[in-house]
Assembly symmetry: D3
Homo-oligomer: 240 residues x 6
Amino acid sequence: MATTTQKKRRANALRDVKVSQFPGAAPGSILIEMGETKIICTASVASDPPRWLPKDEEGNFVKGWVTAEYNMLPGSTPDRKRRGNDSRGTEIQRLIGRALRAAVDLKKMPGVAITCDCDVIKADGGTRTASITGAWIALSKAVQWAMSEGLIEKNPIKGPMAAISVGIIDGQAFLDLDYELDVRAEVDMNVAMNHKGQFVEVQGTGEAGVFSRAELDEMMDLAEKGIKKLIKVQKAALKS
Amino acid sequence: MATTTQKKRRANALRDVKVSQFPGAAPGSILIEMGETKIICTASVASDPPRWLPKDEEGNFVKGWVTAEYNMLPGSTPDRKRRGNDSRGTEIQRLIGRALRAAVDLKKMPGVAITCDCDVIKADGGTRTASITGAWIALSKAVQWAMSEGLIEKNPIKGPMAAISVGIIDGQAFLDLDYELDVRAEVDMNVAMNHKGQFVEVQGTGEAGVFSRAELDEMMDLAEKGIKKLIKVQKAALKS
Amino acid sequence: MATTTQKKRRANALRDVKVSQFPGAAPGSILIEMGETKIICTASVASDPPRWLPKDEEGNFVKGWVTAEYNMLPGSTPDRKRRGNDSRGTEIQRLIGRALRAAVDLKKMPGVAITCDCDVIKADGGTRTASITGAWIALSKAVQWAMSEGLIEKNPIKGPMAAISVGIIDGQAFLDLDYELDVRAEVDMNVAMNHKGQFVEVQGTGEAGVFSRAELDEMMDLAEKGIKKLIKVQKAALKS
Amino acid sequence: MATTTQKKRRANALRDVKVSQFPGAAPGSILIEMGETKIICTASVASDPPRWLPKDEEGNFVKGWVTAEYNMLPGSTPDRKRRGNDSRGTEIQRLIGRALRAAVDLKKMPGVAITCDCDVIKADGGTRTASITGAWIALSKAVQWAMSEGLIEKNPIKGPMAAISVGIIDGQAFLDLDYELDVRAEVDMNVAMNHKGQFVEVQGTGEAGVFSRAELDEMMDLAEKGIKKLIKVQKAALKS
Amino acid sequence: MATTTQKKRRANALRDVKVSQFPGAAPGSILIEMGETKIICTASVASDPPRWLPKDEEGNFVKGWVTAEYNMLPGSTPDRKRRGNDSRGTEIQRLIGRALRAAVDLKKMPGVAITCDCDVIKADGGTRTASITGAWIALSKAVQWAMSEGLIEKNPIKGPMAAISVGIIDGQAFLDLDYELDVRAEVDMNVAMNHKGQFVEVQGTGEAGVFSRAELDEMMDLAEKGIKKLIKVQKAALKS
Amino acid sequence: MATTTQKKRRANALRDVKVSQFPGAAPGSILIEMGETKIICTASVASDPPRWLPKDEEGNFVKGWVTAEYNMLPGSTPDRKRRGNDSRGTEIQRLIGRALRAAVDLKKMPGVAITCDCDVIKADGGTRTASITGAWIALSKAVQWAMSEGLIEKNPIKGPMAAISVGIIDGQAFLDLDYELDVRAEVDMNVAMNHKGQFVEVQGTGEAGVFSRAELDEMMDLAEKGIKKLIKVQKAALKS
């Protein structure tokens, strides 16, 4: 799956990142590509937030809600991916939802529910972090639409939120793992960070190995640099 | 959803049809667009046909199988479409599967199972017929790949298979209904036909009305003309 | 399953049709037999139509609803049929529901929901069309009951609605396929028609073959004649 | 639902019992009627017993299996019964299965699985006990068929098995409760007994009341008498 | 599983019974041990009874509800028990619920719903009857809490309710079957009785055999004696 | 729920930790208590590892497998917890399984599957990390049993693995959050570490806030100290 170009990629370099408008009926609808990983991210707006959201004395919602769903299309993998939920997907969409909510002041969108759908059309590693990066763009576009429609008064987006994977391969830290690298990695880490350099998610897992504090630090350094670049891409995508 | 251009479309004219290669890991992966209706069609090849397929005395499969799945992405409709199966989708994917199998000599692909996935990314009417037209192209590409890999010896594709919708609106037959027309139609008909002008599916339904034999004939005439044009598009898509 | 008598049946002849009252607690409850195909059709009346039905300004429903469920009892086939939904059954019950609704003016039964249950007790081909023919009778009886109870004021039944299967076997059109004929048929078609000779469903499928316009016409001719006879049976059943 | 005749029935009298042959494709297929309670009982034979049945050293099953499924058709109750499993039905079909297995020497039908389906077409109390009584007849007919087909060598049926309900109403023991009586009963008891007067199931429940040892004895006396009559009906049904 | 001590137990003797307070957040939370059978019984109080409970004219519930759930923890059996519902568990929890409700005047707890959870941590026979005995204690503690909180005014508990199993092994009646005895038993009977010697459940089953009226009587005698002892244990547990 | 003692606990102190043997039929069965959080951890051994585990040329498994299930009993929370899977539980049990596998050399237990069940009986914060700490003990006991039974030859346990939660409250890092602290925490972090000070899981989440690199470092320092103490408890528990 990985091309020759990718193999030569330096350990601290991102894959090629591309964001483009994508056809769809949802107010936010984009295609994000990180190398051969390609994901459709759409954001739909509705006026039916979850019932458990707090209300004021007059019965009006005092908050809104942002949630995410993650799905791999059957043709996204060389062996056809069966449709339907699995536990990995459940875990991933919870991660995406948390990261997006950390970028939003939910009190500024009372009674509004935005669902961000991340449908992977080609999977080559790093789909969960690319989903966060792309879904934030779709979410921002949906918010702009909701403001133009009068559903939201003030912009609830606090600022950009992006994510990247990083790992350790043969003892060396490596940024933005594609599938081939991911298979070789002893440690796999996903980091979500905002434009101020603050973290909302740091998830390091060493199923095929363990990692020291020093390696944790090295991976965090790489992730910070990568996310800063992604945030520039996000800003550019919103302007176009 | 329908644009001004579409409203002026003549009753016997197709919407603009466009087929393009689409990124994905499956051997067949295309995007078909009929006006604003846009569908990703992928075809995946596996060596695990359904167990009930007949075998010879030595336990080898004497046939292969072709099946289809139909799905609308959440962002494909203005109101977000919830994920998961519904009875309408079940009915549609059975229709697509039957039409595709009618275009294939299953005995020429023993032990090979091809699944065609039709994922609607924007729905503006006619998704089931566009799925048939597009899935046949993806299927053909997957067959070419399977032949190049040595999984299939002789080409099992008998010839093109395409489909179109046709309806009756205010007493007049109309080809290729978009969503706005579909809502207004008293009768809705879906026709699948091969390159020899032979039919494999004729499904006319008049929930909001009824139709006479004369109207049935008129709709069949329109459908035949439309499908002939679609088959030209299919052939062109396979050559490119 | 098919008897000697059936094999000698002419290509344009219906099997023996019999409708009888059947025990049950629902207001409409009949047994329809077409040869060895035997189906219990009941119609139950309730005051809980689907929520999405339109309401007027005062919150009252402006329409009613008619729906159908189709089921094969485990003992209806030589190999025991497992209980539970399958995609074939889903497709069939949608077809039955559409055909029945086309025979009813739903605005004349506001707030009333009628469910027609078709439970096959012996399956020998043509169960979906016999279900339509039988369910219309049960529906009519349930409507009579609902009128006598004051739940419906004016009769919403527009007129009879019946259905039959027709196919092509060895190049010849054949009416009312039993299981043995159905297995041999290259093309299988189901037609639902009202007492005015207007169609509401025309579903021709050629999984084991294809069919020409001329064959379509020939099958439609046979179907029209068969349904006219069935409508006479329906009328007689309602009078008795 | 209960007729005037039933109201006058004596406390120690059964309702009218009737068993008739019923159309169906299963080898055993009968209709049992106890007053207005009417149930289709079919028995299907297959060669796929549950995997956990014990096998001998050569891998052959040393036993067969008998199981039951219980279902109420939607039209069996004045308010339409929704399809699908519920916990009450689960409990009932386990009871039926146990009672039937107690009438069979499973070692005499190695590798044979018989499923008895009890589908209630009209429910007026006592459906679980009537199911046992009727299913035993269908089971016996299926066994006869299996022996004629050479699937079973020696008759595994030990003898008749029937069941009846009995309850306490206003302090008085009452046999064979119809729906109206069942609603009034403080205690409800179901008893299954064989032709030797031996019990396999005694289930007394007092949700609306409690019962003394003396009342238990009185109910057992009534049940014994009722079941003896039912066993005569079973024998007659098998001879006809 | 059964220890030497148990093997020597007399046929009319209970296993050692022990009830102790158990950590948990529910107002009623105890551990009941009968020999090696050990079950956590908790009772939770909520103000959301089932919707179908009757209401008065002002829309207030006129009754409360008591229900039970039964579950075996995976580590409760030597071969790990898979999580999730099965038909046996469904039947058991219905039995527990009925027995508990027979001990409560539901009209004295309007609008209050109490759920009793019986989680088996070690299974050595008699789990369903031990669950009834233990759940009644947890229920009583929860009622005391609800009264202290003002949710219930008057004590709705009518009196103790306990249950025991009894069986016939090699022709002899035996009280309180552990797993080893249960496997050998021809007949298995579960009896629930209140402090007045009145029964609410008598369930005798002879899957591996049958039983006479005399044997039924003998088992009932044993059960009565056993339950009287259990009721003393229940009373002591509530005082401590 | 939190007691006065806990409120006075220093920010860098663990709650009281207690591990005790617990009744159950599984070879490993313990109760772990961290303050008021109490969890039953059992480990069951079977010879049916997942089918996808790699095999050698002779068809023998070359590895074993360790997995975990996490569940909260209904009575573990003040408001009764409904039974059944939810997405939070799915995510937690995946985490537990990964951490345990990192402590095991799966190649030393070919063909052996060990399932660790963590059933929370009282929830007061930190259930997922206490589950890891407790499940490792149950796993070790099950491994000892499997070795004594000859199912495993060499001890596959690499060494202790424990976990702890840590968070930031009002800007201050805090170890081992109970429920009350957890609600107040802006950031919540779970860390799993082995006896060599190497990490296998680092999961920091800031749904109610964000965190800097400095805060990450501070939390990691606290976690390291806490886990070292837990590993001493684990070792002591295995010796007793």
